[in-house]
Symmetry: C2
């Protein structure tokens, strides 16, 4: 038998993170043989999430291990994080020696601000895909989009599909299938419309009007400022 | 316009929780209008999860709000929690006035130990369904199983389907559809086999041999002790 390699998976944590962008891929990747999960933030204080509870970072920027897989989640906190030099520097520094540079949801824009999506095919949450050219990326339809060692995924729940895809790449299909079965990932969404291509038009329109038009404008403003 | 009712959603947290059992439904339910999420543990110290990071409880057992929705997640820590009187008492006490008594994955056995599944149709993680009669429940196939105000769901990732189902029940289909679209829950698992009914037989057999035969035996022993 060959030894299982150690794979350091480094997730960025920040205030206002959409916690499932982190917790779903962390669940799958933590079961990958050899994986060591780190949740890294600017400081070690608990990170408030969007879901009413806080997560404790395992490391701060200074003490973080070098990532084999760097993963940047999204959330409403991304617009503020885009202006935080220490955060962007951490992403840029880690990416230099990471084997895989990845994002879930609007985490793509933090990769982009760090210069990692220039000329890359990429995706993000459906309500923000039109902003990807602002970081030099080419928006591509797809729940998980690969371009070289850069893997971006769609909104929130796509992180699970992303993680299993990456596990299959790193450890083979059988390992990924076993993890998928262990977490009983046999989804049965109660409605068919988890993407605007399939959702009732009124649901999409209402969500844009009440949430995403303003949120996307805020992201655009943050991306357009130096 | 009518006022949106406040709905207290109380999740039990305990050492060795499968964090996605909690974080996935918390993500969906936190976006339900009027929802207030609590993560409640015996004490306020951070709770180590199975995925390499810790979660901070919002309340301890004494300070927890009365649940409208009580939700008990699962995990390898369930076998120990079954023997913890304070935990079982908390579940029993909260359930008396909860509108909905629910579980994800092996959290069902904690509901069962508190006497809440006697004579009820229920489900749990696929590797443990045969143990449901030990708490007086009737195992039923289904990713989300309702019996009166008791709602149990299957392994780990089923918590998302459970939460959206409950949101539809409480606030209507349009609200649940909007949340499903907001979290882009349009799953695309890389493999078809997230349940033994659909997984390659060798994958299921390997997982049972290496993980679940021992884990189910440990659960059975914990359920069989007084």
């Amino acid at each position: 038998m060959t030894d299982t390699p150690t794979t350091h998976v480094v997730f960025l944590l920040f205030s206002g993170i959409t916690q499932l962008d982190f917790t779903a891929p962390a669940q799958a990747l933590s079961r990958m043989p050899g994986a060591v999960i780190a949740g890294v933030a600017a400081a070690l204080d608990p990170i408030p999430t969007d879901s009413g509870f806080a997560i404790v970072p395992t490391h701060d920027f200074a003490s973080a291990p070098q990532a084999d897989i760097l993963c940047v989640p999204g959330g409403h906190g991304v617009a503020d994080a885009l202006g935080d030099t220490a955060t962007i520097d951490f992403i840029a520094r880690q990416s230099e020696n990471a084997l895989w540079v990845t994002s879930v949801c609007t985490g793509a824009f933090l990769l982009g601000r760090a210069g990692l999506l220039a000329g890359k095919r990429a995706t993000t949450h459906w309500a923000y895909t039109h902003l990807l050219p602002l970081v030099g990326a080419e928006p591509v339809k797809g729940r998980v989009v690969e371009d070289g060692n850069v893997v971006t995924s769609g909104g929130v729940t796509s992180g699970l599909d992303f993680a299993l895809t990456l596990i299959a790449r790193l450890r083979g299909d059988a390992v990924a299938q076993a993890i998928q079965l262990a977490i009983e990932y046999d989804p049965a969404p109660p409605f068919p419309g988890g993407h605007p291509d399939r959702a009732p038009k009124a649901i999409t329109a209402g969500l844009k009007e009440h949430v995403y038009d303003a949120a996307a404008a805020r992201m655009e403003a943050a991306l357009s400022s130096a």
